[in-house]
Amino acid sequence: MTDTTLSSAIVFQPGTSDAEIEAAAARAARNRGRAVYFWRYFILLVFLGGWEVLSSTKLIDEFFFSSPTAIAMRLYEWITEGTSEGPLWYHLWVTMEESLLGFFTGSVAGIVAGIALGRNRMLSDVFSIYIKVINSVPRVVLAPIFIMIFGLGLTSKVALSFVMVFFVVFSNAFQGVREADRNLLANAQILGAKDWQLTRSVVIPSAMSWIFASLHVSFGFAIVGAIVGEFVGARYGIGLLINVAKGSFDAAGMYAAIVIIMVVALAAEYGMTVIENRLAKWRPAPLQDAS
């Protein structure tokens, strides 16, 4: 009924007009869209409903797993009355500030370093070993070190976000530069591009889709960096809320903090997609099958 895979492509009778074919295609697309949304909401409802029922019938222990209504109530309480550690918005702002600073500094440094090493064989041969070594360190273990060095404030979290983001963006930018089309490079050189013009007009644009792919994941990493930092030692932030909730065995509070982070990360991801689509308007849009 709503299945529009290629194998079930509609065969039109001879003499069907273009308008009819287009109308049928539009109908099929609408039906398909509805089916997608239906299943999405259905799965969400089953998940949340099942969770609620399981915890209210004591099949799972509410003490550990909480329940959707308890989490919603905790969120409502935090939003309207604030948390035990002060207003929710302030904590959220602190976490966002740390993540954004880490994200921007990390991605800018990653892009610059990736392009520099990608363009210069000697530099990359010398530094690649060190980058591998540092990259093999699990980032999370740096949290206590950074807190020891930079203190409980903003700087230590930004530093942790930075290292989370830097390596992802760096390796993608590096790879993107290396994958630049040799013909395009040769063409630009013969047309008269000098070193910096070549980098700016060919190397960076062709690395851009690689860089964007890494920016998508790395904003999530920036948040992880900030939260882990707060978790280990902080005065404000969502990570601190989780830590406090853990200390008072408040499962609903921990899940509520997770929900907040999910919303923020999804919003950031959406914003990134909008920016990327605007920058990548030169890319071909896929043609659709008429059925």
């Binding site: 013909n183 063409n187 308007k281």
Partner: protein, 271 residues
């Protein structure tokens, strides 16, 4: 050194060796001699993989000869010469730039003021019949239109020397003939010296003043044929001329042995 009587391009006893990834040396060109007069259209034909494209890279300065000498306008090649234009076999348009921004790239790289560069880009797009497509992106154009953008992108720099590496081999046969006429029209106005590499003998004869036949790799010049078909030529017509048929039979007799040797050599390498 820029003697106006010197040939546009000279390759004197040029050899070019490559190092393969496993460290072995491979000879692509051996004792290669070629001379292209100013304003002359030279076509180079030879079996697949014989080193035709290597000759072009030597002229651009993107590659250096292992021995021998390459001279452009009487002076030895040193880096990328600004008087050279190059049309590639595959698409070399910048996919993230619109048509007009692709055409304007050369002048902007060379420091022409932006207003002037865009004005001449509009003129060149009109000359290749692409007015009205300025703001489209390459992926929105057909293969023939993209090739015309490439020609405009190259010709806008007013190259004295035009190197073409099988530029039309990816096009269908009808489009290719149209592009041949287009190229001859642009060339007759621009008065550039052309080296046109192809594996299509008829294309070579239809376009060129002189056809170089290369041996199967390592490539060296086997023979040179002057093509005395009067200009202006209409490429879609002259292939039925008796003179055209005679010369293509003569050259093909010469080329056939090399094609067979080249094929045998490729198979031996694969085996």
């Amino acid at each position: 050194m820029n003697n106006p009587n010197s040939p546009a391009i000279e390759l004197i006893n040029v050899s070019r060796r490559f190092l393969t990834p496993d460290g072995k040396s491979m000879t692509a060109l051996r004792d290669f001699n070629m001379s292209v007069a100013r304003g002359e259209f030279v076509a180079v034909v030879g079996p697949t993989g014989c080193g035709k494209s290597t000759t072009l890279n030597l002229v651009t300065g993107l590659a250096k000869p292992s021995s021998g000498e390459v001279r452009v306008m009487g002076a030895p090649v040193n880096g990328i010469d600004p008087s050279i234009g190059f049309v590639f076999q595959t698409d070399a348009l910048f996919p993230w730039r619109s048509v007009i921004d692709n055409v304007v790239a050369g002048p902007l790289f060379r420091g022409v003021p932006s207003e002037q560069a865009y004005e001449s880009a509009h003129q060149w797009l009109a000359r290749v019949n692409l007015s009205g497509h300025e703001s489209k992106y390459p992926h929105q154009l057909s293969g023939g239109m993209r090739k015309r953008v490439s020609l405009a992108q190259t010709f806008i720099n007013e190259p004295k020397i035009l190197l073409m590496d099988e530029p039309f081999s990816a096009l269908d046969v009808q489009t290719r003939v149209l592009m041949h006429d287009e190229l001859l029209r642009l060339w007759s106005q621009a008065k550039a010296s052309v080296v046109f590499v192809t594996h299509d003998l008829e294309e070579a004869i239809a376009l060129a003043d002189k056809v170089y036949v290369l041996t199967a790799g390592p490539a060296t010049v086997k023979s040179v044929y002057p093509i005395n078909i009067p200009r202006p030529r209409v490429v879609s017509e002259i292939r039925y001329d008796q003179a055209f048929i005679d010369i293509s039979r003569t050259i093909w007799d010469d080329l056939r042995d090399e094609v067979q040797r080249g094929a045998a050599r490729t198979e031996a390498l694969v085996a």
